[in-house]
Subunit: 248 residues, 2 copies
């Protein structure tokens, strides 16, 4: 399993992924699920992946090689460094997933392995708006909006309530969003053993056209540990201070 | 879907269930999933159910009729009013599920309907300890302990993080536990449309041998609404007050 979350905020993007992969509980490894394609000042694109590792690695390899767009079979090869828009970047990811599906899905099914893959894709290209997409295994995709300013892939349930309650497109700063993404991840790691450290965090400030922060957070990171314990204390203090119901 | 949560605390039990059932998103009904068998001063047993409604209703009907225990085929019929221990009460539920499985599962499978059922069973019988069980569709069961003082059935993920962080067998009072159960339910209702109001809440204080509080909480309940909005405010205030990371 995996947990990746992307926040789409007025100030920019916060994207956070774990690095654990597992084939059964006794076969656990660390793989980065975070990929950045960047030409500073012109474009920056970050992708995070969840699902079957063989599928997602094949998708990344195809994206790296580049693909001729389905809609322009006589055109040039598209890569993350030359797609003209973030929409086309999402199409490139979608096309790569479909190609892996055509090549591998039947044989995987014969081995009772599910073809699964999903991606978060966020970034900006000069002269265009900042975007955050979620690409499905079918290669189609949705984008985050002001109404729903976050997208999640993988084990999304444990970390969703805090985002539902606290996140706001215009009202949450990049720094506050970073704390919320980390708390959402902390709740997930506590409840699902197949989501684990280290974490890859990418922060992008809108219109800067280069990644502002890319940091790997280890299990013993003092800031993360402090944030987690402060959160537990604050929750406890909060609900204890609430009035009691008449009927209790 | 359904969400039921039971807290096993030093002071007693808190059990909370929603009442929504659905067969598709366009076929939603309200059914109580909470059943109480009580002989005040001698025993009180509360059961909450999740899963296929036809299965759980059949299980309740069999329990009401009573069953001859599998291990004593020549013995008397067991009902919730005469089982000698909570362990035997859980066996009675388990035996009822197995009987429904024998009768219905094959035909259900032929219609591509999954046989699903799970139950929380909490209470106390005079002279015995207070217990809280979770009974599975196979009729076997586990009980809550001081280390893991809560059990959940149905849509359990959204409401788990707060319990993981804040609940403590010895340190959480019945009143505090009630607030936590309600907040856990609130997080679930916000995220899963198939979990909904009204809620059935049962509070049992250990050794009283009768239910202390049984209340139905509607969507416009002023206490619940206040609790929910205070919680959102407190979460926001808490994470905003935390220090920012160096790297953000």
């Amino acid at each position: 399993m995996t947990y990746c979350v992307g926040l789409y905020l007025e100030e920019g993007l916060v994207m956070l992924a774990d690095t654990r992969t597992n084939a059964g509980v006794d076969n656990i490894s660390t793989y980065s699920k975070t990929f950045i394609w960047e030409n500073p000042g012109e474009r920056t694109i970050t992708m995070m992946s969840a699902g079957n590792l063989a599928v997602t690695q094949a998708v990344v390899a195809l994206i790296e090689e580049g693909l001729v767009p389905e809609e322009h079979p006589d055109g040039d090869i598209h890569t993350m460094y030359n797609v003209p828009t973030m929409f086309k970047a999402a199409r490139l990811v979608g096309q790569a997933v479909r190609q892996v599906y055509i090549e591998d899905a039947e044989a995987m099914e014969a081995q009772n392995t599910t073809f699964s893959a999903s991606f978060l894709l966020g970034g900006q290209i000069r002269g265009r708006g900042m975007r955050l997409f979620q690409v499905y295994a079918a290669g189609n995709f949705i984008n985050a909006t002001e109404d729903t300013p976050f997208l999640q892939i993988g084990e999304h349930k444990y970390g969703k309530p805090i985002l539902d309650r606290a996140l706001d497109y215009g009202g949450t700063s990049l720094t506050e969003g970073t704390k919320l993404a980390l708390l959402s991840m902390d709740s997930t790691i506590r409840s699902n053993l197949t989501v684990g450290f280290p974490l890859d965090l990418v922060i992008y400030r809108k219109d800067e056209l280069k990644v502002g922060v890319k940091v790997r957070i280890k299990e013993d990171d003092p800031y993360f540990k402090d944030l987690s314990s402060r959160w537990s204390e604050a929750l406890r203090a909060a609900y204890q201070a609430f009035p009691s119901p008449d009927w209790a």
